[in-house]
């Protein structure tokens, strides 16, 4: 299987890439290519031009700044998965990366590519929403803006990036205070497959054991990451035990109307959602209280 013909550009600077993006009609940015090239080989997509970002060194980094973790959009999954900083501070993200594709995909695929692709069953989008990540979008001429993860995912395969103008260049993870913890869980046929249901939970727990803030976000159950607000409300201020986690999971998944497809029926997805939300809440809570790694 071969892609349809296209023009190929391999700029070495971000500014050059953004200029090409604004000038070349029908062009697409090529990040790790593990989704885009597959779609092009199947002829589901036939962009007139590819602007390959792989030679732009300035887009590949993991660095700390004022407690924030800043990640360049072209940083590959493997580098993120191996990062001790991410494992310690953002365990939900580490778990999502550990179960994201096989080693060859993790050696090539990038965080920016995945988020801009916005596949409804990809691992990273719900984690980004749970962690309150910020997406930095850039356009030719130096214009930049920050998009909150909550607003970044608009629909299936659709983000808030302005088409043919903006590129995702950086992901910013905010510092979560002492007493925070998270967890990511998913159901999939094999460990690394796209999820049937997935959930990311991030929370902060006070010294008294009461939840100060909780974010519960599901994937694969809606066209974009689904905030289980009902669960978050039950968790607010509560001390978490089995019963409370079950009530939160029930409240958080009650209004779900997940899609049915070849992998699972809507009913099944909803049932699994409830179970996974409960488990992820218990795990995140234990981690926040320092009782589990």
């Amino acid at each position: 299987m071969r892609p349809a013909p296209f023009e190929y550009y391999a700029p070495t600077s971000l500014e050059e890439a953004l200029r090409l993006l604004s000038e070349k009609e029908g062009a697409k940015l090529l990040a790790g290519g593990q989704s885009l090239l597959a779609l092009m080989k199947l002829r589901l997509l036939a962009p007139t031009a590819l602007i390959d970002l792989n030679r732009i060194r300035e887009l590949r980094y993991i660095k700390e700044e004022d407690g924030w973790l800043l990640i360049g959009a072209m940083t590959i999954y493997d580098e993120l998965e191996q990062s001790p900083l991410i494992r310690e501070r953002y365990p939900a993200l580490h778990e999502a990366l550990y179960r994201l594709g096989d080693q060859q995909v993790r050696n090539r695929g990038t965080i920016g590519g995945s988020l801009a692709h916005a596949d409804p069953s990809a691992n990273l989008p719900p984690v980004m929403v749970a962690l309150k990540a910020q997406m930095v979008a850039a356009r030719a001429g130096g214009g930049r803006r920050i998009i909150q993860a909550d607003e970044f995912f608009v629909d299936a395969f659709t983000t808030a990036l302005e088409p043919d103008k903006e590129a995702l260049v950086e992901v910013r993870l905010p510092p979560w205070p002492r007493g925070s913890g998270g967890a990511y869980m998913k159901l999939s046929k094999r460990e690394i497959d796209f999820s049937i249901v997935e959930v990311a939970v991030q929370m902060t727990v006070g010294d008294d054991g009461g939840v100060k803030e909780a974010r519960v976000v599901l994937g694969s159950v809606a066209p974009k990451p689904y905030r289980a607000v009902g669960a978050e409300e039950v968790l607010a201020g509560a001390k978490v035990d089995e019963g409370l986690a079950a009530r939160a999971a029930e409240a958080g998944t009650r209004d779900l109307e997940p899609p049915s497809d070849v992998q699972a029926s809507s009913w099944y997805r909803k049932e699994v959602s409830r179970v996974l939300v409960k488990r992820a809440i218990l795990k995140a809570y234990a981690r926040a209280r320092g009782m589990e790694q």
């Binding site: 013909p5 023009e7 290519g33 590819l50 096989d102 090539r108």
Partner: protein, 163 residues
Amino acid sequence: MSQELRHIRVKVNGQWYEADVEPRMLLVDLLRDVLGFTGVHIGCDTGHCGACTVIMDGRSVKSCMVLAVQADGSEIMTVEGMEKDGQLHPLQEAFWENHALQCGYCTPGQLMSAYFLLSRNPNPSEEEIRKAIEGNLCRCTGYVNIVKAIKAAALKMSSSKAG
């Protein structure tokens, strides 16, 4: 649309090659059809099976999911590059000794994934080995002997280094 050819240079198994390629040519086709490295297998051609895995600039990648132009200036290793001076690589010997293959179709890809694993984790656990080859499908022998072979090769390589 007419396709402008791009001139690229790639170093494969220690030797530089030059070629003129269409931008849409896949790395696996460059390696097999233009340069003759037919040890790189095409299994599914959709990024699922791992048979076309090669080492590109030190990392295992599926060569059906990389464009040939993207490899311009890169160093590539294929299964043909594992043998040195008529001597099989310890991984190849271990696959042989442990019956880690039946039809052999997935083997070059398995070897590349194992090679990448051992390049940064010389003493992997069974779980780490299984994790490392999860992108390489075997449809005949199963994975037990492949895991055994990688473990054996790791032991051999670390003891020969120590000696």
